[in-house]
């Protein structure tokens, strides 16, 4: 509700605001993720900029009613460009006491608290481990705009004519809540009605009707009871012209791979072993068999990586994905990929570590594993998407680099990006630059084939089985320059180690220089990577508006680093590297550029909030000022 832009409209009491951050929480079984997704899509269709943050328990069905069982979905929709799902909540919907006590802390003072009154009873208090009804606490009424709605009962009433069982009726209460939320924020019911019809219309017409009725009942409740008095409106955001859709990170990654496949004329072989939060890429890709996509659910991560390399040896587009622990297992095979110099993409959708860690939470703590998690000197390029939609572009770029340099490429996504969503401008793929792939055809019978000869990118030829005259053998032992035969020669080993390193380093000459938000010199530079983009961007923009000399460089290329980065770092008095780890990028920057970067680190399974970054930037600005004063005084 960042700003109230106008109050009331045609007779009704409607505030037009620039943005709303709302979180919907209930028990895992209450359908909160569905509710959130619908609200997001509807808002996106209304032309808002949106950003989401789903947050659900690790358990498939955590015990009902408990704090551990709470499932939440946060969405920010706005009439201006936004980059995060928001920090403090303008509105919080809670279906039970557990949801309330675990989420209330994020509701801003004066925010709207909507509670399903029917979910607040002794049984639930016990499950949630609260002594008394938290809704009754004086402080609640004083601090928030509380609306207690008997949703379960009202839903039951609304669908009573449809002959559903009690249990089935109650199941619809999330749609009632949805209707009410839609009314509150002036959302159209249309897209959700369409969704209900698509999903249940044919198979379960009764359920479809009940859900629709509940949705409408919720809306009417808001419209008629006047309990709320006031509703809100968020105008369309001034996004750049084009056709948009809402997209989730893992979906965008999957689509990007399909696109890269199409752009390069290579069929995609996606080989993986399920693991949270990467599995959805598999679920998505396996639906695109008609694009020539073959998905292979291997027996483990090692097999998945091996199969991707096998496919690449045959001339296919080999892609393998996992999360931290699974990537650890792939290390040896990735090293072989480096030695064989075959194109391949390895995706790590990072989660909280170490070990099994916090599987459903986000973290950025696998960067150094990506850099160094293999024996010997085995460098490979590393890219990181900065937002859900960016996954699409990163996948294509990774594939381009992989074939251009004949190398495995690593993509570091994370749980926050993977499950988050944002509006995405649909690209015109017919205009997209194609990816050029050449397989030598063995024309020259005079010259013996040199599988480890190199082109201007230091890439070796991608000669594939089936090509007469180019039969050759590859392997993990060090190989002789050009011929690829096994070689134990000391000078050759040095040459090959150096060449493999140089091949990756020189990519820096062919990627775009690092862009900066703000001036390219000044007091403070924020350097970030991956999923923290939105929060850092927003914080820097706000601080810039507040007059602080701060700029933002967000890295999408982590290895090699952009060639202008060193100069950039030294053009600022203070460099701060915020990361959801203990300082991994920071270490790489310090080592490479000898710049005394400060870290701003958080390892809590949660993304940064904008305000904690703003606080940090302000603190750094103040420190600089004090220093300056001190200097002048000194």
């Amino acid at each position: 509700m960042t700003k109230i832009l106008s109050e009331s409209g045609n007779g009704k009491n409607i505030h037009t605001v620039s943005g709303i951050t709302v979180r919907l929480c209930g028990d895992s079984g209450d359908g909160m993720q569905l509710l959130g997704t619908q609200l997001t899509n509807t808002s996106a269709l209304a032309g808002n900029d949106v950003a989401t943050f789903p947050d659900f328990p690790a358990e498939i069905r955590a015990p009902r009613g408990t704090r551990a069982g709470v499932s939440g979905f946060q969405v920010q929709f706005a009439s201006e460009e936004i980059f995060t799902p928001g920090d403090l909540l303008d509105a919080l919907v809670v279906m039970n006491p557990a949801a309330m006590v675990t989420n209330l802390g994020d509701l801003r003072k004066g925010g709207i608290l909507i509670a399903n009154e029917d979910g607040f009873n002794d049984k639930e208090f016990k499950l949630a481990k609260v002594d008394s009804n938290p809704l009754e606490a004086d402080v609640i009424e004083q601090s928030y705009r509380l609306f207690k709605v008997p949703m379960t009962k009202l839903t039951r009433d609304a669908v009573s004519e449809l002959g559903l069982s009690n249990k089935e009726s109650e199941r619809c209460k999330n749609f009632f809540a949805m209707g009410l939320v839609y009314w509150l924020f002036g959302r159209s019911l249309e897209p959700t009605l369409r969704f209900i019809d698509d999903k249940f219309g044919k198979k379960l017409p009764d359920v479809a009707r009940a859900n629709a009725a509940a949705l409408q009942a919720g809306w009417s409740y808001g419209e008629t009871t006047e309990a709320f008095g006031l509703s809100y409106q968020v105008e369309a955001a001034p996004l750049s012209p084009g056709t948009y859709r809402n997209i989730m990170g893992n979906q965008a990654l999957a689509w990007g791979l399909v696109a890269a496949s199409s752009l390069s004329g290579k069929e995609l072989f996606y080989s993986t072993y399920p693991i949270t939060p990467a599995s959805d890429v598999l679920h998505e890709l396996t639906r695109y068999k008609n694009f020539g996509v073959r998905t292979f659910q291997a027996e483990d991560e090692i097999a998945a990586c091996g199969a991707a390399i096998g496919a690449a040896f045959g001339g296919g587009m080999g892609v393998t994905a996992s999360s931290g622990p699974g990537i650890a297992l792939k290390g040896e095979a990735m090293g072989l990929g480096v030695m064989l110099e075959l194109p391949m993409i390895v995706i790590n959708v990072q989660r909280g570590g170490p070990s099994t860690g916090l599987p459903t939470k986000t973290e950025q703590s696998d960067l150094l594993q990506a850099m160094f998690g293999r024996n010997g000197e085995a460098p490979l390029p590393i890219l990181a998407p900065q937002s859900p939609g960016d996954c699409f572009a990163i996948a294509i770029e990774a594939w381009r680099i992989a074939v251009e340099c004949m190398t495995p490429v690593m993509i570091l996504s994370d749980g926050y990006i993977a499950n988050g969503s944002e509006p995405w401008k649909i690209p015109d793929m017919t205009q997209h630059p194609r990816i050029n792939v050449v397989h030598p055809d063995g024309a020259d019978p005079e010259e013996p084939f040199m599988p480890y000869a190199r082109d201007e990118n230091l890439a070796r030829p991608w000669a594939i089985p089936g090509t007469p005259g180019l039969m050759h053998r590859v392997g993990g032992l060090e190989k002789e320059d050009r011929t690829g035969n096994i070689s134990y020669d000391p000078a050759n080993h040095q040459h090959m180690v150096d060449t493999r390193a140089r091949k990756i380093d020189e990519i820096a000459d062919r990627i775009p220089p690092q862009e900066v938000l703000g001036h390219d010199s000044g007091d403070i530079l924020i350097v970030s990577w991956g999923g923290t983009y939105g929060a850092c961007h927003t914080a820097v923009r706000r601080c810039q508006k507040a007059g602080i000399s701060v700029s933002h460089a967000h890295l999408r290329y982590l290895n090699p680093l952009p060639s202008n980065l060193g100069d950039l770092l030294s053009a600022f008095k203070t460099v701060v590297v915020p990361e959801l780890n203990t300082g991994q990028l920071r270490m790489l920057l310090r080592a490479k550029y000898l710049v005394d970067c400060a870290g701003f680190n958080k390892v809590q399974g949660k993304p940064f909030s904008v305000h904690e970054l703003i606080d940090e930037i302000k603190a750094q600005a103040e420190a600089l000022q004090n220093e300056a004063v001190h200097h002048r005084a000194g």
């Binding site: 948009y244 689509w255 199969a307």
Partner: protein, 336 residues
């Protein structure tokens, strides 16, 4: 256009062969080079993929495409390759350690998926390349570098494991018995589905003579029984002994007092592998050990066929994927 007729020598790469003099690997290499030209598959359509071990050096010596991969993982590379390139003839070359120790899981899963590939497992019952530790096929009590007081693991039989994993083609041969080896490799190549050939291979440096009872011509006839589909199980230097099924087990009988008709007739095509399992469990010295094709079941769908079939089905059903339609589909809105 007729294909040029190739000879064994055409399958030799330029690389010097670097096994120990006298190693059984040489004979397997020779038979492979002899058999391949007979199959009529052009060299460039053949790929050898190996893990790590002495045996896994094999691909370097073949003038085909090849990959010397990492220890135990050859089946995984082969799976990715064959799934995407069903037009290729793929051979996996592995050792007893490579296939059954570190690679045991991939080995099983390759077999159950029944990719149309051929696997040759060089069983020398020892780790050759790392200089003589015991392997999963080493005998109980075997003294090796890592078991100075004798191995205490109960050995695995590659054939039993394969049968337990629903393999469709399971065979065994012997490095020194070259005609049999050549023929067995040919049978493996011809089978559609994953073909496993275990080859008794002498490591004359670290486990010399461990299988001499089967390798040495003088002993072979009495200690080994050659399986032939539809034929009774007869063996012995004088072909005077046979195998009979009694209830649920097999026993050696003398043909002096048992009629040939009472002998077990080998059925490599039996869908139910129970008898084949009994054969796999016959062990020297109690029993003669079977060589030849234990199991060859046709008609089981292969993974490569199926994965590609689903792609074709999907294309037929939904039309060939349209990238622009994909990204433009679903709920969209226009910003002007």
């Amino acid at each position: 256009m007729t294909l040029p007729v190739l000879k064994a020598a055409d399958f030799a790469s330029t690389q010097e062969v670097r096994w120990c003099p006298g190693c059984g690997d040489y004979s397997i290499l020779a038979q492979m080079k002899k058999v391949l030209p007979e199959l009529g598959v052009p060299r460039e359509k053949i790929v050898f993929i190996s893990g790590i071990g002495c045996s896994s050096r094999f691909p370097y010596y073949m003038n085909t495409y090849g990959m010397h991969s990492i220890h135990g993982r050859a089946p995984t590379f082969a799976t990715g390759l064959k799934s995407t390139r069903p037009d290729l003839m793929v051979w996996v070359i592995t050792g007893d350690g490579d296939a059954l120790s570190i690679g045991g899981n991939h080995f099983i899963h390759m077999l159950r998926r029944n990719l149309d590939i051929n696997v040759v497992l060089f069983n020398n019952r020892i780790y050759g390349l790392t200089k003589g530790q015991y392997s999963p096929t080493s005998s109980e009590g075997q003294i090796t570098k890592s078991t100075p007081m004798g191995a205490i693991d109960h050995p695995l039989s590659p054939l039993s494991v394969a049968l337990g994993a629903e393999a469709t083609f399971v065979a065994r041969s012997i490095d020194a018995y070259v005609t049999h080896l050549g023929e067995t490799l040919r049978r493996a190549a011809e089978h559609k589905g994953t073909s496993l050939v275990e080859v008794y291979q002498n490591c004359n440096v670290f486990n010399d003579g461990a299988m001499a009872y089967a390798q040495e011509k003088s002993q072979r006839a009495d200690n080994v029984i050659e399986l032939e589909h539809g034929k009774p199980l007869i063996f012995g230097k004088d072909r005077d002994k046979g195998i009979r099924l009694v209830g649920s087990h097999l026993e050696v009988v003398s043909l002096a007092d048992t009629a040939i008709d009472d002998l077990l007739i080998h059925d490599e095509r039996a869908a139910n592998p129970s008898i084949q399992m009994m054969l796999a469990r016959m062990r020297y010295p109690e029993m003669p050990e079977p060589i030849g094709v234990l199991r060859a079941v046709a008609g089981v769908p292969t993974y490569d066929d199926q994965i590609n079939h689903q792609v074709e089905l999907a294309k037929a059903k939904h039309g060939i994927g349209d990238l622009q339609a994909l990204v433009s589909g679903g709920d969209t809105w226009v910003v002007k």
